[in-house]
Amino acid sequence: MSDTAAVSATGLNIIKRIRRDHSPVVIVMVGLFLVVLISGALITDDFLTWFNVKTIIRDAALVGIMAIGLTFVTLSGNFFLLSMKEIAALSIICFATLMGADWNQWGSAGGEVTTFGLLATFLVAFMITMLVATIAGAAQGALIGLGGNPIVVTLGAAGLFFGIGSWWSDNLVVSYRRPHGAEWLGTGSFFGDIPNITVAFIVIAVVAELVLRYTTFGRQVYLVGANRAAGRATGHENFGMAIKCCIIASVCAAFVAVAFSGQVSSAHVNYFSSEFGSSGDMTIMVIAIVMVGGNSIMGGYGSTLRTSLGAIFISTVDNMMVLNGFNSGARVLAVGLMIVFSIIVFALVRRGSRAVE
């Protein structure tokens, strides 16, 4: 009798401590995650295998990296960029064109393929792609920072970037030959059976989280996002912040584009619109991840850790539905329901704690 009372008391204590130490948002999220995970594991065969866990994280990697980049924009109070997939499209065209360019073939000097040469080709293409993405991001960021609405600015920029990408590639598939210098990023693995892209995802997630938590820049992101007036009063204008955050988001998108191009040795502007993943539109998928992770869209609240968990969560649900034989419609529906559900839950949880803007 006393034993059961003690056990239930410890149980209550644990619940109390969890409720004290963590915000309700986190509890809801973790609870949901556990419910999905456990029910999925029970009804799905082959779900809880090491191979499948690897697949889930690998699937989450590409969209996850993009979402981590976007989280900076969201945290700094600039909503989100509707041009993520178009930046990626422009970058992938840029990268593939440069990988296939005649002047950039350092690998096959004298008819012999050398690792060093392949890497040189890759590096040249990679650096120029990053430069293009940086310019694209900075241009958008400047417009946003001057006071343009982020949604409308990036909606227009999306059309512009997509147009430039299509025009550059003549709306054709740009392909380059294997072996090429991006294989290690796209399909290779240095650490046994863990693909490099997964490693890159984890490294980027950790670095982003550290930057947000322990650097001055990270603090400034939170400050500008949480209270723009206070930021301005202390000399942190949104102008510079918007530019920096948009550059981070663009560079992450470009990195994803490079990695994806490395997988398929080719590029097309539509890779991120239609053929990517289950859910059609990559931009919306990325925004979905940021939201499902529980970051505040108004800025100032959230972290990239949440975003990474959101990516893995969505990927888990997707994976489970694939294993159970659902079609793409049901999967898009599920992700849509998850976003709307998380928006409503987080809005209810946080209701009253933030002024209405």
Binding site: I151, G159, N171, M291, I297
Partner: protein, 346 residues
């Protein structure tokens, strides 16, 4: 002439929109011999039927200080539902079902936005994906098609040289919404929550009613646009109609809405849509690929936004320098007075 000048200074945005529309039209009319014909006029009005609805919906949303990102998905869903059920239920029933569904989606969105007090972009980016999923589900991931092509023929019958049943319906819709926005209390409430939300709420306007009305109209317009596209082309895709958001936003912004809300109107929306249609149609004459059209629209949107932001910044700095000047003047007057008092004998 004097009155025209007065009108232009009173409505700078509208006159800019008219100027832009006229110059785009005359550019293509001069460079393309076939542009200035009745047939092209009819084609432009046919495009107007769909884009006009989307432009109208987005104009209303932006007047209310929000933006409805789910408009393309809502239209695609309506198109899929109409086309899928026309064969079994008849066009009228299918159309009514689709319109009812898209309007109620709008109402639910508006309710949640007002109830949760979140920005519309937050919710509508979620419903954007959700409605795509529903549309994919409804279409079973296929392109749905009509078998009876008398309905598409009826919808694009030519009437009065330039019009078809679809475009007449849309013009009627424009008139209705225009009257509603100008002459009813509910319409003015929409302007109020857009232009000065805090003040409007403080003066006792509930956020719910105008928000629900705006999103109901937006959902209805999106649905009607989807129905027209679906029935006219006889096919519908769940993942289609994504371009509507960009084109509609461009139309709304050319029509003179401000992202801060509370500005703009139905006439502006009509002119903005017509400008976009002139551009679209003219570029088709030039054999421009679709992605280039998208690019031009993107550039146009960026230019309009830069113009707006620039004029806002300029006005702000003008006001600041005005204030400083006033302060300087007052100080010098005061200094004069003090000096005079000191110098005065006694």
């Amino acid at each position: 002439m004097e009155r025209l000048k007065h009108w232009v200074t009173e409505n700078p945005d509208l006159s800019f929109a008219i100027l832009l529309a006229v110059s785009v039209y005359s550019f293509f009319a001069i460079t393309e011999p076939l542009f200035f014909t009745h047939r092209t006029g009819f084609a432009i009005m046919e495009r107007f039927a769909v884009l006009g609805l989307v432009g109208l919906a987005l104009t209303l949303c932006i007047i209310a200080g929000e933006i409805d990102l789910s408009i393309g998905s809502n239209a695609a869903l309506a198109a899929v539902i109409t086309v899928r059920f026309t064969d079994s239920l008849g066009a009228i029933n299918a159309l009514l079902i689709a319109l009812a569904i898209s309007t109620s989606i709008g109402i639910i969105q508006g309710y949640f936005i007002a109830y949760l007090r979140i920005r519309a972009i937050v919710l509508t980016v979620g419903t954007l994906m959700l409605l795509r999923g529903v549309a994919l589900f409804a279409a079973e991931e296929k392109t749905v098609m009509l078998t009876d092509f008398r309905i598409p023929d009826f919808i694009s019958t030519k009437m009065f040289v330039y019009f078809s049943p679809a475009s007449i319906l849309v013009i009627f819709m424009f008139v209705l919404v225009g009257l509603f926005m100008t002459y009813t209390r509910y319409g003015r409430e929409i302007y109020a929550i857009g232009g000065a939300r805090k003040e409007a709420l403080a003066s006792g306007i509930s956020l719910k009613r105008p928000m629900i009305i705006v999103f109901a109209i937006s959902g209805f317009c999106a649905g009607l646009g989807g129905v027209i596209i679906g029935l006219r082309s006889g096919t519908a895709q769940a993942l289609g109609l994504q371009y509507l958001l960009l084109a509609g936003t461009v139309a709304a912004f050319i029509g003179g809405v401000s992202i801060l809300g509370g500005k703009g109107g139905v006439i502006g929306a009509a002119i903005g849509t017509l400008t976009v249609n002139f551009l679209n149609t003219g570029l088709v004459f030039n054999v421009t690929p679709a992605f280039m059209v998208q690019m031009y629209l993107g550039i146009l949107l960026l230019v309009v936004i830069m113009f707006q932001t620039g004029s806002r910044l300029f006005e702000g700095s003008q006001r600041r320098s005005q204030l400083l000047q006033d302060a300087d003047r007052r100080r010098s007057i005061l200094a004069d007075k003090i000096a005079r008092l000191r110098n005065s004998p006694g």
